[in-house]
């Protein structure tokens, strides 16, 4: 779980980097957009329009002014979409004028993003005592090759969920997140066919570090989502906890039994193997190996196999879930968290399944699910698993110490739990709780009031229609009074949620910047996982027996028990649907 190479541990570093970025993002509450310059990529048919800064403050806007309300201008852009901009002096504009604001170009935003990430991770690499020059050379290739995949992945022919809407004859409907798969495939090609190059960029191949930092940032986004749908979020959290308790208790014991009884593995091999195959891959194998005092080579060998199979799972399972579980999106998400080993691959598969299932639900049933909820189910179960590893390792350490390999005077202390605790999870908890506390008092107020406002607006539109058809002055007067009364009601309602809306908008500004970074951290994780997956290991002498146990357990029951547990706890739970 914690990888120490002389310097600060990877877990602590991921914790501090995530907290640092999060604190920067909070500057949004003082009226700025501190991470708005981070690049975001849109689905494209014209590559020049694919990339732009995330924040509106940094984007270029050009179009015809269709409405002026106070200091707010409504602009109709060339693509037909409307956008509202706030100006300091609206009196210099009139309806019909062309409004233009020059912002940061997409390319400049991309370069800035690269520089920011390179500096950020270089600091991390320096603190981990890595070679900074080698790291930066490696990171240069990792970033740009990964981004190329991301860019290609957003090509409408790959990404569009509605080809007609995108103005193209067909599409693979992968959504933009298909770029993750492309990055993984390119990584696998590099790792297996261009080994000298993979070695050359090796210093920057730190997928667990990138993904752990990303997870720390993800807490903020989930915090906002939870504030907006508190009942659902608390259900996902609790059910995720239940699912992993079940998975631990059933999976581990079964794999341990099979490895010991049928495959005659020794205790030293069977315990890390059971943890590695059944629970959480590398982290669990290492923690268990430590807990039972196995030789270091044991969890390392188990881990090398786990990583390879995790990549196979990552490639297969999201598509399987898309085909068979698109009607139960949260089951699909939780299943990824329970079945796919290693943090990187599990979170990554959560992201892919989120995109694939949403695309399928939209094309097959016209249901547009809010993005991120399946990823939340996957990450919740995975995070609980990570937390639980320390407890499980403690239990095993106690049993081994007290009952199996009893050595006089040896004791298992509570400190052991803390030592094995995945520290990066605390960044997730902090960002989640802070954003939840800020947003929870405000988010629930907005939606019902906005629904009321929309209802009144419809009433006004109907009354205006009526007004146009009546000629009697008394009737006209009554209808005009009704319209004015309704308009006043709207003003009153808008006033009642003005403060709440401001806070939620500021929170959205904060989380959209961190989320754009999180997506890029995920992206480089996919690529680096691919590069590090050397399939030659499968042909290594003797690994066949381990691989057979792995295959038998994984496809024999782990996947299916995980699916059943996910189904029991998550069926019928649906992400919010985007309307309008």
């Amino acid at each position: 779980m914690e990888e120490k190479k002389g310097g600060i541990s990877e877990d602590w570093l991921a914790f501090w980097l995530a907290v640092l970025i999060f604190v920067i993002s909070l500057l949004s509450y003082v009226g700025t957009d501190p991470l708005g310059w981070v690049v975001s990529t849109k689905e494209w048919t014209d590559s020049s329009k694919a990339i732009a800064p995330t924040g509106k403050m940094y984007q270029s806007v050009k179009g015809e002014i269709t409405k002026i309300d106070g200091n707010k201008l409504t602009i109709k852009k060339s693509d037909g979409k409307e956008e509202t901009v706030t100006v300091s002096d609206a009196s210099i504009y009139k309806v019909g004028d062309v409004y233009e604001k020059k912002g940061l170009s997409g390319f400049a935003s991309l370069i800035l993003t690269y520089i920011f990430m390179a500096i950020l991770f270089s600091i991390g690499a320096a603190l981990m005592k890595a070679n900074i020059v080698k790291f930066n050379i490696g990171f240069f290739f990792i970033f740009w090759l990964s981004y190329l995949c991301w860019f290609i992945g957003h090509y409408a022919y790959f990404a569009a969920t509605d080809a007609k809407k995108a103005g193209i004859p067909w599409s693979l409907k992968l959504t933009g997140e298909g770029g993750f798969i492309f990055a993984l495939i390119l990584g696998l090609i590099v790792g297996n066919f261009f080994r000298p190059f993979a070695k050359f960029i090796g210093e920057a191949l730190k997928p667990e570090f990138y993904i752990k930092t990303a997870i720390g940032l993800m807490g903020a986004l989930i915090g906002l989502k939870s504030a907006e749908a508190f009942g659902l979020a608390s259900a996902v959290l609790f059910r995720g906890l239940c699912a992993i308790i079940e998975a631990y208790l059933i999976y581990w014991a079964l794999v341990y039994f099979i490895a010991r009884k049928w495959f005659k593995f020794s205790r030293e091999w069977a315990a890390p193997l059971a943890s590695g195959i059944s629970i959480c891959g590398v982290s669990a194998a290492i923690a268990t190996g430590g807990a039972i005092k196995a030789r270091p080579v044991v969890p390392i060998m188990v881990s090398s196999l786990v990583v390879i199979f995790a990549v196979i799972e990552l490639i297969i399972l999201p598509f399987f879930a898309q085909a068979f579980l698109w009607k139960e999106p949260m089951v699909a998400g939780a299943w990824m968290g329970l079945a796919v080993k290693t943090d990187g691959a599990a979170f990554a598969s959560g992201a892919v399944v989120d995109a694939l299932v949403r695309a399928k639900a939209e094309t097959a049933a016209g249901i547009k699910y809010e993005p991120g909820w399946m990823l939340m189910a996957a990450s919740t179960t995975k995070l609980f698993i990570d937390i639980f590893i320390s407890i499980w390792a403690f239990i095993l350490a106690y049993i081994w110490c007290a009952k199996i390999e009893c050595k006089p005077g040896e004791k298992v202390s509570g400190k052991e739990i803390w030592r094995r605790f995945p520290k990066f999870v605390m960044a997730y908890a902090i960002t989640f709780i802070v954003i939840l506390l800020i947003s929870a008092p405000h988010a629930p107020k907005i939606q019902p009031v906005e629904a009321q406002i929309n209802k009144i607006k419809k009433e006004i539109a109907a009354t205006e229609k009526q007004l146009a058809s009546v000629t009697e002055p008394a009737q006209q007067e009554a209808l005009t009074a009704k319209i004015n009364e309704n308009k006043n009601k709207i003003k009153e309602l808008e006033g009642s949620i003005k403060e709440s809306k401001k806070i939620i908008n500021d929170t959205k500004v904060a989380t959209s910047g961190t989320n754009s970074l999180r997506v890029l951290f995920f992206l480089i994780t996919f690529f680096t996982i691919g590069v590090m997956s050397d399939f030659r290991k499968l042909w290594e002498e003797g690994i066949g027996k381990l691989a057979v146990v792995y295959l038998l357990c994984l496809f024999g029951f782990i996947l299916w028990i995980g699916l059943i547990i996910s189904y029991i706890f998550f069926h019928g739970v649906k992400p919010p649907i985007i309307t309008g």
Partner: protein
């Protein structure tokens, strides 16, 4: 990693020196699965009663 033992050798050694399942290991397996099944019913009830998952 010159001293790293070969996996094949490790496996051969395991076959030669089989460690039978100890009663405490059997107990761990049975308790773990038993607890898992018992808790399943309790946790499902708690989930559906107190965390209905609607929004």
């Amino acid at each position: 990693m010159a001293e790293e033992p070969k996996l094949a050798e490790e496996l051969k050694k395991m076959e030669a020196e089989y460690e039978p399942l100890l009663p405490v290991e059997k107990k761990l397996i049975v308790w773990s699965i038993g607890l898992g099944i018992a808790l399943l019913f309790i946790l499902v009830w708690v989930s559906y009663t107190f965390f209905p998952g609607t929004h």
